[in-house]
Amino acid sequence: MADVIMVPDISRTVQKWRKKRGSLIMALHEVQNRYGYVPRNVSLQLAQLMDVPLARIYEVVTFYNYFNLEPPGRNNVAVCLGTACYLKGAPEVFDAHKKALGLEDGGTTGDGEFHLQSVRCVGCCGLAPVVVMNGQTVSKVRPEGVRDLIARCRKEA
């Protein structure tokens, strides 16, 4: 996928963080919110704008799980494998997703439709097991219900 160029509104938001000490991570959050990942071109410009070496940016991006270096899918499915969800059958729910989408953890379908990943606790443990579909938390998911969930997602997209 072609890298995107830095659009003005991002350099403006980054500008806000530029004046503040230690805010590289906040600037990276802004970038990821905008693009869904941290594109290489944007990192290059970020290095200039924030006045830090590119290597520092990559050092930080690769340390933190939250940042992606690859573009995500159009639909993002995050299956919680935290303790509460694990005990309530999250591994089976995760397997059902892998099967239904033909993906491994962290994979994206060839058409870029779906990205699948496991996450650690989204703080909704009382309603385990949970899946976060495009930012929306779905509670008490059953493995049998996974195909429907994905079909609904496809239709809405």
Binding site: T83, C125, G126, S139
Partner: protein, 544 residues
Amino acid sequence: MGKLNRDDLDRLESEYQESRQERDYIRVGMSTCGIAAGAEPVYRFLCEEIRRRALDVEVRRSGCLGMCHAEPLVEVSVAGAPRSLYGEVGLDAARRILDQHVEKGLVLAGMLASQDGLLAPPEETVPRIGRQLRIVLRNCGIIDPTKIEEYIARGGYQGLKRALFELGPESVIEEMRTAGLRGRGGAGYPAWLKWKLTRDAEGAEKYMICNGDEGDPGAYMDRSVLEGDPHSVIEGMLIGALAIGASQCYFYIRAEYPLAVDRIETAIKQARRMGLVGKNILGSNFSCEMEVRLGAGAFVCGEETALIASLEGRRGTPRPRPPYPAQYGLWQMPSNINNVETLANVGPLIARGGKWFASIGTESSKGTKVFAVTGKVRHSGLVEIPMGTTIREIVMDICGGAEGGKHIKAVQTGGPSGGVIPEELFDTPVSYESLQELGSIMGSGGLIVMDEDDCMVDIAGFYLGFCVEESCGKCAPCRIGGKQVKMLLDKISARRATAKDVTELRRICHAMQKASLCGLGQTAPNPVLSTLRYFENEYEALLQ
């Protein structure tokens, strides 16, 4: 509303109280769990119907009441009928509530939600619900977290006022000492002592930091407090900043909690507008600024020195202590880090006094503790009990015991740093010391219930897998030892191990405990050692 000074606060408190009491209302729980269970369409439906039917009823929103198993929750308070709380409310149920309860005053008994005898959210400022006593969760599920007025109406910012105008920094610390409040983030260090050390340390600047990283998967009380009662944490931060001599505060919150981030940011803006954050707070000569910073999905960043590295915009790797952050923290300046739950205690503690706080709990563990009870239990949710309550009371009485006729085998407290407690020991009263004696820890308050279907070797493997993935790799005992322990556990699970492997397992665990640099590696073996202590038979059954 302009900036407040000390006398405005009391006036507003009674004004807001009166204006709240007069009205009929319906309240919908809108925290992450409520929304996940479908609260948003219910809220919209109620708003539209109330307008269409031209009823004089206000539709309000609130945070999490802690009864997560019964979400979405809807509370109804209309003249002529008892105030009631309905659980698992969908659109059909919402319509019936309007038809019967709101319009005719008839309570729909079959649809009520109840936990430990609670029929409706309580009205006292520090509520009792059956065996529960709610200091930290005093407003959660009761007020609208997006309205500062509602926090003030329930006695909010009175602790700050007393700290500013009656006590001053030194007496605040003295009051905290009398109270005996210990850190709720895991280690249980006395809050007053950390505040005093930071106050006494030399530095051109000092910083007050809130640890909202909540890394233990299965614990979510910090999220609920940040979402459901953000001002309670802000008030605690302000009192702490005053006590240690800081004029800048940082909230470090997990990026996985977008709603919590949003609610805190809104709350800071409101507080600033009313003169509770910023220059000359409540007209005093104390000034203090606040900002939010996000985590980025690294468990180790909950550790205080790693958190500081992350706040400085670097990789979150821990460093050896001492020096402690109280001497050498953010930007090398004296800094104090407290957990969300610790801070939420501070407002009422200072308003009512340290003696009051110290009257709750046990000899060495004062106050209450919030537990997130999840797993194989009927009523999962948040529970806040005075220290000294037994595990049996929490699991069996308050949370309704096992699901579906199964037998509960054990609970795990303290998450990946903690251990299991078998059912035979459920009569242990909860305190920092008692849990440690059992080989577990209080931790942040995750309490995971396991039943007869759960294999202890598998659980230990799960936690170890977590620690291996989250290890920052800086020191060898954790980086290499963790992997070896995980491999041995997998070998046991696959029935390929012998008794010699179990001896080796213990040996590596002890080495990790002694030689790891930070708490992650030091405590990672705990789930293995504690399952070995109480459920060695389950290991043996898998050996060759």
